[in-house]
Symmetry: C2
Subunit: 192 residues, 2 copies
Amino acid sequence: MTEEKTTRRRPRSDGQRNRERLIEAAKAAFQDGETEMRFDEISRRAGVGIGTLYRHFPTRDALIEAVYRTEVEGLSAAAQQLAATCVPAEALRSWMRLFVDYFATKQLIAPALNSLVGGPGQLYATSGEHLKTAIRELVGRAVENGDIRADLDPFDLLRALVGVANVAADPGWEASAKRLVDILIAGSRPDA
Amino acid sequence: MTEEKTTRRRPRSDGQRNRERLIEAAKAAFQDGETEMRFDEISRRAGVGIGTLYRHFPTRDALIEAVYRTEVEGLSAAAQQLAATCVPAEALRSWMRLFVDYFATKQLIAPALNSLVGGPGQLYATSGEHLKTAIRELVGRAVENGDIRADLDPFDLLRALVGVANVAADPGWEASAKRLVDILIAGSRPDA
DNA sequence: AACTTATACGGAGGATGTCTCCGTTTAGCA
DNA sequence: TGCTAAACGGAGACATCCTCCGTATAAGTT
């Protein structure tokens, strides 16, 4: 048996940089409403070869997930900040509205769904953990405070949010989505 | 200017039959969880040539819409029947639950979304009218009866339903979706 | 600074799926 | 039974996906 290599070379800087560029280009493609995001087009935009794209992201889903994950991280951070600065009920409501803004304005979820439906939570499961943690925290505090029924499954709310944010195709969706947030909150009150 | 032809030949029976077969085959493909529904495969299953498929449904969306429309018609009929046999609030709630069953169990919406996001309601707008009418009716009656706030936009609820039914990928979605229906109803009450 | 080598790059080209075009077949009608 | 509009079928042009491998370069070594 050969000795296990303990000293690993530091990752190459160009690799790291290209990876970031690719994610950036993919995100831009989404936001331009490119339902069809051709891979060669994305690699061209990022200024790298096609082979490079495929090495970093072997499948379409891997690329989508990477974009998705960077977005989720920001949202996760926002949850912590809101929890620290607002009363529980308001923190929850604000975060849910932020969720709508953050995801739906960027039309990010919608294309991502394509792969989400593929398997049971392939993509969603990985970065979804962060979101679950965030909303569990927010709901937990609201329950303790008596703003929300204790029997509410936090993940139910998250599911509704994902759903609501998806239907962002026609004009007026944004106002509608925010009204729905309020309806959901109202329906989650202890006396409802 | 030539005389306008007033006598049109009756549509050919084989054309009609093949059209139905194709819709049937496509629906089956959806239900088998075929996220990738290859066109040649569908035409093969229907026992017709590829050319025939493309003549009947020039684009992928056209085929999806045809499948979608047949489903929507059943749901629309159910709304009328529920309105006739239940008290308003119960009719609305039952229909919303039926919506979840009807669409989400069949995983039908999810693939259909692919085209929905393409343009502003391309597909959704056409058959969506039926759904809009159905829920407008149900909500209208519930409002008159004092079960639901008057300022609720019926389409908001529909949007939420579509969204909720979409996230049907992981186990437990069904129970979650139905809990959400109750939360939505509770949040729509006049005193909420 | 020069050398070594693991790591990453790029894009040609094969595999796979989409969609069109047109010669052949068939159902409706007289 | 003959005529013809309507429908059929599938070969093949076209587009996109993804793999493979020779070349280039950054990290570590002397």
